[in-house]
Amino acid sequence: MPRSAAEALEQDLIQILTPEGKRQSHSLYDAYLEDVDDDMLRDFYRDMAMTRRFDQEATALQRQGQLCLWVPLRGQEAAQIGSGRATRDGDYIFPTYREHGVALTRNVPFSEMLRLFRGISGGGWDPRENNFHMYTMVLAAQLPHAAGYAMAVNLEQHGWDEAKRAAEGEAVVAYFGDGSSTEGEAHESMVFANSFNAPVVYFCQNNQYAISVPFEVQSKVPLVSRAAGYGMPGIRVDGNDVLAVLAVTRWALEHARSGKGPVFIEAVTYRLGAHTTADDPTKYRMSEEEKLWAPKDPLVRLETYLRENDLVDDAFFEQLAQDADEMAATVRRDAMAFPVPPLAKSFEQVYAEAHPLVQEELAWHLEYEAGFADQAADGEK
C-alpha cells in the first residue's frame, strides 16, 4: 500500500541539519559536503538572510504601489540557496517566478528582478549572462523548455567520455512547485527527459500549497514516488535544511551530468507567507499549522548550529543586518530609478524581425499617443 502524503512527511526524508540545529551524518551524502567549511556555512546563512531581507523589501514596495505584484519566498530560502549553490556556472537554470534565492546564487542583481514585477519589462535580465532563465509566469511552462534544453545539451556533448562529462558537462535544473507538478507540461517534460536521458534535475519545492489548495488535494502519494513511474531516481529532502539540499542536488547534478538521465528531487518546505501579495493565507489555512512549521524555519536552525558551534558572534548578525538594510535601500533606489520604456517599445518584441502588421499597428499607436493634448507636457513615457 502506498503511504499517505501526511505519513510520508516523516519518512525517507534526507536531513543533515535537524530543526534543533544538530548536524547528523549520512552514509551517502556526507561525501558531498566534504568541502563545506565554516566560511561556507556562514555564507549560506548570509545568502539566506539577504534573500529574506530582499523579499521583505519587495513586499513593502508592492504595498506602496511600486510593484504590480510580488511573489514572496519566505520559508523557502534553504531549498533555493542549497540547490542554487550546488550548480556550476555552465549549468542552466529554469526558474518559476519565486526563485529569488536561486537568482542570488547565480549573481543576478536583486534590483533587476523588480523590473518584471514593476511592469516595465517582460524579463529584466539577460538569461545568457548568468545561465538563469527568465521567470516563467505560466505554471510549469518552463519544464518542457528545460527538457528541450537538456536534450540539446546531450546532442552537443555526444561522444564525450565519462571523465569529460564529469569535468565539463552541463546540466539543467528545472524548478517548479507542488502546484505545477499537476500540470500536463510537468508530465510531458519528464517523459521526454527520461526517454532521451536528458541531464535535467527536476527540483520541486513542495511548499504545501498551490495558492490556496493544500498538498493533500494535489496528490495522494508523496510527489517523489512519481519519479519511479518515469524511470528516474527520486529523492525526498528536507527543504528547510540547506546542507541536505546542497548534498542531494550535488548528487543529482553529478548523476545527470554523467549521462545517466534526469533526477527528481522533492524538497519538502513551507511557504511561510502568502502565495503572492494578492492573496491572504489566513483565508485558507489555520494558524496552528503555521505555528507547527515556524520552528522548522531554515534560518533558525542554521543560526542555532552556527551559534552552538561558536562559528559566529553577535557582531556577525549585526553586521549582516546592516548590510541587508543597505542592500534593501539600494534595491529600493534602483527600482524607483528604472526608466519606464514607452509602450511603443513593446512592438519591437513581438517578432524577431520587422513584421508589416506590427509595424502598421505601431504607426497607429504612435499617432494615437501623439493625439493627446497634454502629450507635449508629458513627454515620451
Partner: protein, 474 residues
Amino acid sequence: MTTFNLPDVGEGLTEADVASWKVSVGDTVEVNQIFVEIETAKSLVELPSPYAGVVTELHAAEGETVQVDEPLISINEDGEAPVPTGVPEPNEALSTAAPVASEEPGPLVGSGPTADSATRRARVNRPEPSATGARTASVRASGTPAALADQISRRAQGFSQVVAREVDRRKPAVANFVDRVLAKPPVRRLAKELGIDINDVVGTGSQGEVTREDVNSYQAQREAEHAAAPTYWRPGTGAPETRIERIPVRGVRKATAKAMVDSAFTAPHVSIFVDVDATRTMEYVARLKKSRDFEGIKVSPLLVLAKAVIWAAARNPSVNASWVPGPNGDEIHQKHFMNLGIAAATPRGLLVPNIKDAQDLSMKELAIALNELAATARAGKTRPEDMRDGTLSITNIGVLGIDIGTPIINPGEVAIVAFGTIKQKPWVVDGQVVPRWITTLGGSFDHRVVDGDLSARFMADVASIMQEPAMLLD
C-alpha cells in the same frame, strides 16, 4: 509634504476600507514602518510607509472606504520645512503637492496618472489617424481608429496592469473587431435551444459579448409579450376609456408617421409585384456560408437582393433619384451613387439607415456592412447621419413570414423594394411541378419620376439576379 495615495495592493482592486491606523498625526514614521491596516475585497493588508517623516494628516477615518489612488496619508518628509499639523490642507495643495514634492517618482502601478485619472486625457483637435497599407477585411470593417487603438492596447496589456485597467474603462474593443456576435459556446447553445437567433440579442458583456443573462432576458421579454396575449382583450364593463390605451406619439414613431404621410401624399405611388424562383440564390448563399473567405460573416438572401438592387439601379438609373421642388421649377436629381437604405425594426422603432456608396462594395464588404448596420440598429446606436442621404431602400418583411406588402417610399427617394419571405412552393419547371424556393418582390415607385414600364424593367432586372445570381458576373 508628501501625500501617499492608496495603491492597488491586490490585482485590480478599486477600493479598500481603513481597518485601523497604526500612527496618529504628529507621529514620526520610518520608511517601511507599518502605518495602517486596510481591508480589501481579498484580504487584510498592512501598509508600510514609503516615506520617513512626520505624519501631518490621515485622510480617512477607521471604517471609511478609500478609493484606489485617493489620498491616504500625508507625511512631512525629513528635511522639509514643517507645516502646521492637523490643519486641513487646501485641496489644491494636496493634489499638486503629491507628484512634485517627493523626490521619488509617484506610484507607477495601479495608481499612475495614465491609469487612474478620473477623466480622459484631452485630445488635440486633429484628423483621425488614417490607416495605411493593406488591411484585412475585418480591420476595414471595424471602423473607428479608436477601436483599433483599443485593440492594440488590449494586445499590449500583458506588459502592465496600467494598460489593462485603462482599456477596461473603454468601450468594448474586441466586439468591434470580430465580424460575428461574441458568445461562449454554452450561451450559443442556450440560444439555439430556445430557438433564439443569437444575432438578435444585444450583448452586454465586458467585451460586447452576449452573456447567458442577455439570452435569458431576451427570452423573458419574448415570453412576456406572448404571455400578455391572453389578457390583452379587456371586458366592456368599465368606462370606455379603460379599454383604450393612449400611447403618446413621440420620437421615432412621430418621425415615421410624418415621413410616411409626406411620402404617401406627395409622391403618387405605383406598386408592382413579382414572384421569383430564388432557388439559385439560396444555393449561392449556402456556398458563401461555407466558403473560408466568408468565415464569421453572416450571409443571407438579403445580401443577394441588395447586390441585385444596386446592379439593376445602374441599368435603370431613374429609380435612384429624387424629386426636388425648386424656385425655378421642379427638378429630378439622378444620383450616380447608391446610399442603400435598409429598413430595420429596432427597439426605438422603424429606422432606415443606409450603406453609403454601396456601389463600391464587393460582395464580402457588402455582407459586412449589412451585418454592421443591422447590429448597430438593433443595439439602438444608429446615428442620424447613418439615416441621411439615402437614395434607394429595401425593406425585408419576409423575416416575419409575410409574403409581400406594399412598401411606402422613404422620403427623398423615388423607389423602394420589399422582400417577402422565401419558402418552398410547388413550381412549374419545364412542364413539371417541382418544389422550389419562391419569394415575392414588391416595389413602390414615385410615379412623378418613374413610369410604369421603367419600374417594371427595374423589378424584372432585380428578379433576374435573384433567379440567377451568376448574372452578376456578366
